[in-house]
């Protein structure tokens, strides 16, 4: 019985098999891929929509307010250059006051409020105002789309247990982690895929192997799901202790695919665990499940990452773990 990668299906993840120096993880805990592409044919700067969709709400709102102020200052400047006296009801004697008035006229034009107390009198400023109101409408058309995109973006906010556990499982041991859905929507048809990335010290190359799971798909993620990889003799990590895992710089790459019931969209979530996020000899605590009113069951998902220490089967301990 060979110790390593027996029978495991090789799994190309697109990271390449070159062993990059250092203990970098491939995936961050939040699922972002830990690689930055650059180069003359890289088009980062053009993906405006992607940026607007994915920035935080705080940044997004600050960006809107800042743009609003900047655009109005620019147009107020143009109007001021063309002459405050081209407008009705503007105090032309005081430059500061008239710039102020033009700034607010610009805001009223950009938002298409158009009170009309201040109004353009000459063709020149009328033209600029006509352009500004068109720009205002286009900007708010884009804002509408971006806001819709932000809201309707499918996101599988899946919670992962902080640690992966090696726990007793059907006479042998199993490598397991737990996931839960922290949102009110329902996730259905959930699929999990776990790939281990480990270094072969003899060849100094990194291999990626898909781990067989006890169950790779469930119908609802109603309470939680403990995803289990049985560590039997065919497992690539069979007989390895925590030190072995650290030495092999293992990283367990998790991919979850689910159907979000609200939007009927397939959503993806990724995460990863590295060697020092594995706990040997531990078992997840049960959730607190209570009957609620109207025949409901209430589940407290606070305990998602909590575990109790347990003893592993002798054979397992003999192999050197804990």
């Amino acid at each position: 019985m060979k110790k390593d990668t027996v029978n495991a299906k090789s799994n190309e993840l697109g990271f390449g098999s070159k062993n990059v120096s250092g203990r970098n993880r491939f995936l961050n805990k939040n699922g972002k891929i830990n690689i930055r592409r650059k180069g003359k044919n890289f088009m980062e700067s053009f993906d405006v929509y992607h940026t607007l969709i994915n920035m935080s709400w705080i940044k997004f709102l600050l960006l809107i307010v800042a743009s609003y102020i900047v655009v109005n200052i620019i147009f107020a400047g143009v109007y001021y250059y063309l002459g405050a006296k081209s407008f009705g009801n503007i105090e032309v004697s005081d430059p500061v006051k008239s710039f102020e008035d033009l700034f607010f006229f610009s805001a009223q034009t950009l938002t298409t409020v158009g009170y009309g107390y201040v109004y353009p009198k000459t063709a020149a400023v009328s033209s600029v105002a006509a352009v500004e109101s068109l720009i205002g409408l286009l900007i708010f058309a884009i804002a509408t789309g971006v806001l819709y995109g932000r809201f309707s973006k499918p996101n599988a906010t899946i919670l992962y247990s902080e640690k992966m556990l090696v726990a007793p499982y059907k006479g042998i041991t199993g490598l397991m982690f737990r996931i839960a859905n922290p949102k009110r929507n329902e996730l259905i048809e959930i699929e999990a895929q776990v790939t281990v990335s480990m270094i072969n010290r003899e060849t100094n190359s990194r291999s990626f192997l898909q781990l067989p799971l006890e169950l790779s798909r469930i119908n609802f993620l109603s309470i939680n799901w403990t995803v289990v990889h049985p560590i039997d003799e065919t497992s690539p990590i069979y007989g390895m202790s925590q030190e072995d895992l650290l030495a092999a710089e293992v990283e367990f790459i998790i991919m979850i695919k689910a159907m979000n019931d609200t939007y009927s969209q397939t959503v993806y979530s990724r995460s990863s665990y590295v060697a020092d996020e594995i706990v040997f000899g531990a078992r997840f605590k049960s959730f607190d499940i209570k009957p609620g009113n109207k025949g409901r069951t209430i589940v407290d998902i606070t305990a998602l990452s909590e575990y109790d220490t347990v003893e592993l089967p002798v054979e397992r301990v003999a192999a050197g773990s804990v």
Copy 2:
């Protein structure tokens, strides 16, 4: 021939196998999962879009009107605080009248109507008005997205027969329910999956077993579909009477997946039947089908849940049912 769960494929639904006390159903009749998640890492409050999309139209419209009034009162308050005399054409002598006027000015600003009879004169109130019109535009941008989301949300409004029937079927008996599409759109590529959840009294654990169906997929849901599970010797409910079903606290969990032709979106519908929603010895009534004009066929789906009493095959009755 064992009596229980022979050959049936075990089916994990994500509910866990722990037997929760009481006769709770897992799914409500409307398909909502009968479990409420809570806990410190539960993010219910943030899923604003999900809430806005799924609330009833009445509530949604009331929310809009209430928000409109509240926002206008707030801004009128700010304007009043800054001084009604900062506005053109406002009656400053009467506080109530001037607050009223400021409320309507606020409404005209928020909606970007901006008649301009009342207009801001000082930089302070002009700034607030500029902010208000920006907020107005953003709110209505969001409203546009939410309204589109509400309208375009795929919903498979599938009608289920009230009861599941145990009826004669090809010499043996079959467990059957009936579905119909009550909307004008067409559902195509309809798939059904039926899972039975039942308690094993010996181990006091709940098991989930997928039931084989006579047909698990049809091409159109043009009239109706009677989904049939043949109760042969391999069925987990073979030989069980209604009392047996009640004792085992069975719940038949139905999942329907279909393609909505109008939106080209996969839609899902769920429902469930518990033991006392099963009728032994009954057969669904035929629908009233009449030729319409222009060569059409007119189908009256009123009879969806109606059934006639029939006698079950002797062997079946001998097993103790009815």
Copy 3:
């Protein structure tokens, strides 16, 4: 060798096997299902969005204009009832002129233009105007969504040849029809499924059988696709003449599934051919293909339905056709 339905896969379409009297087709040529559902639980009236999305552009625009006029007349009526003298700059002496002015004030409020020459003076009319501008914004928010829905609706406007042909095919005969994409977008991963519905005179029941195709999937629909069912001994229509097809009230139900490249959406198209739309002994004409400029190939799809008469293999004619 039995004459009928040997080896053909039975195919439930959801139409039921009851033989409805008369020569009704199940699908119209345009793919609409020829069945109208009704009944107390039918919800036709609620599917507003579906109706707005699928009505013709002419009707849609007329509906918008008509609603615009009606809403403005209603609000003008309310304003008139509350008193034209509650408005600034309205001619109160002439009832017709003042109603006219109020109608235009309403239009300016609904569209949020708000010139403000005419403006509300009292709290009563200001309130109604505030409500009207809110309604205006909501209506146009809905219109934005509906217009987007109309435009972005995936539609596989597939052209079908008018007739199905029985033509010589690899020594035997084949039942074939031809499709083309009349739009500028590209359809990829096109799948076809052909089901024959025919009456068995002995049992007076209708059966649905899926026909095996020479090729059920292609990668691009770049020019055209001739879908072929080889009429070999396993075909349910083997040896049948046109009279036999008419007697059996056959209908060939076509379902096409494709990926629209522009919207990355799966689109569906359906059509059907009945017995008298089958031509025995005919072969589709080739398209006119010419080299264009810039190395392009230009294809004229006008000939989609055109065919030449050919002689069928002797065995076929002996079986009684033409």
Copy 4:
């Protein structure tokens, strides 16, 4: 061992097998299909949305500005025809000035700014203005949808290496090309399909054969992917030299399918290589991979198309290449 197309799966692409004269490619490098459909049933002109979504940003913005000017000139003309004296505050003595004023009034109406300094006085011009503001709202509703469509359109901007290489591969040779994702978003579940189109000089017909790949699917396109077709004895291009490829007018048609993580949408990319884009005896250069800050890996994708000359295995050279 036959020289040609042994064991390769025949692959219908929908181009037809007719050998069109000249060295046209089926696909352009950018993936556009090199065929133009025309004919009386071709509906090119109606696909307005497709056109608006796919035109360049420059053209799109110019179109908006041009339409804005044209629409305003038309309405200004109508107002002028109805009489400038029907408006408040318009200089009627000077025709040019009054047309100018009406043009700006039109712009203020179309964008719903409505300052109201100039305002309609008669029923005739008020009616036209009411229509114009409605048209304005509808146009901007459409613009909102189109802008959203442009932004949210899934596009798999995949970069392809300029050449396909024939390089040493596991003792034999392999035909390979390289792809990378130049955008910041992540592509997951990437699938590749390579089809060779080649002419059989004996039958003068063109055949399409799918090439088996070393790997036809990867999980992430995080750095790059070298897609490899091993040229073993079963390959349709086994033993062919560059001259043979030119003579057979080969074209390698590439189809890439991936899941865009940001939009949860399946995206497609296509490209093709013709015979003179194949380099015999070359190997892709490695990318420059450096550790970045925060444990990131930085990859420079500039070298995507760069290669070094290598010697092919003797057997390969003996077969006549280079």
